[in-house]
Symmetry: C2
Amino acid sequence: MYTYEYPRPALSVDCVIFGLNDDELKVLLIERAHDPYAGYWAFPGGFVDMDETTEEAAKRELQEETGIQNMYMEQLYTFSDVNRDPRGRVVSVAYYALVKLSDFTNQVHASSDAKRAEWFQVNHLPPLAFDHAKIFEVAFNRLKGKVRYQPIGFELLPEKFTLSQLQKLYELILDKELDKRNFRKKILSMGLLVELPERQKGVSHRAAKLYKFDKIKYKELEAKGFSFEL
Amino acid sequence: MYTYEYPRPALSVDCVIFGLNDDELKVLLIERAHDPYAGYWAFPGGFVDMDETTEEAAKRELQEETGIQNMYMEQLYTFSDVNRDPRGRVVSVAYYALVKLSDFTNQVHASSDAKRAEWFQVNHLPPLAFDHAKIFEVAFNRLKGKVRYQPIGFELLPEKFTLSQLQKLYELILDKELDKRNFRKKILSMGLLVELPERQKGVSHRAAKLYKFDKIKYKELEAKGFSFEL
DNA sequence: TCAAAAGTGTTCCGAATACACCCATGA
DNA sequence: TCATGGGTGTATTCGGAACACTTTTGA
């Protein structure tokens, strides 16, 4: 038991994890087994330990609940509505993360807890627990905003990707169609993509060239004041 | 005394308040009377009560410590380094605020506590307590970023302002000179400024027209997909 | 009459947009 | 041989950048 002179809210973290599956943008949810909100879905999360930052807590929870590691992660917002959790005062620091879904088997095995984890398409989410619908909204808007002026979209793609995959990704996130020629012209003119001596395999049409994102070059350019924009 | 099954970090808020004084961008700091960091300066802040959101806490602290009310305020970031406060584990949700300094007497009277509050120019800050230098850095960068694609600069100016004042403000925040004609052309072309039937008074040169920002029109345009950009 | 800031248009250049056809591949 | 997506260039338009002089006012 721990006692304090003044009352303290509990502090938790929640993670909105985006992944790209073929032509669909998805988020990872976990089904709640117990009340409150038994049967509802929620973002993975948990309480912050005393010897870890909130970011460390978010990564730990993610690892524990889904086995996912080493993803791109960023703080989203802190949610502190007094009644957001019926069990009592809980303030939650939300993070959002981008993962290369291709790195995982299609189903993320929920961990120890025998909780069920599943990827849902972003515009077909089931009923969410707590204020998680609000959290998702903030996360998705942040992603839409950020993807345009920082090259974080690549975090969702496999190491090697085609220009069409990249374009489709942007079309999904920004929710509008882009012109193929203009898109290619612009993205290639930045000089951040490396053309690989490889092509797509096993497709029943002309095989596309594969590219990878040159992170090192991006860091260099960024330091010189270059700004990614799409 | 309050007792919990698991230990909990304390939860506080800190506010970075920006104000514009003539030709200088300033932030409000409070001198610490006691250890830790006695004699250092810190952003106003305090602990979050159980019946208020973090945003409410930030506004309350600001009101208590400085008397400032009704300013533009936005959540900045949550700082959770394990050792950021030598007294123990304290997680702090930081906010930044923009105030019309013209609304206040030049010196903000520090409140009850007999703490000394003072406005400092943003590039001549005294030594700051805790991780407040880091907080300031994040806040200033956020301001620089946000001011370009949201019309928040107006929150720093008086109701009625001249185009030169507006331009100077942007030059200060973005830290670069802007061309007068291009600036005016662009800002006026947005149709968000209302020309008032008034002019500057008591200046020893040609008196400038006064304008005000049309917030209602901005909301309308924003809803239609217009995006402010400078 | 001087100093100091207000106010005002045009030209040029580069980037964004619009747009259509042939190519390679496996089924 | 057909269906499917891969790959490519040009003309036009629009917005950003550069740039200098006249006007007004109070000291």
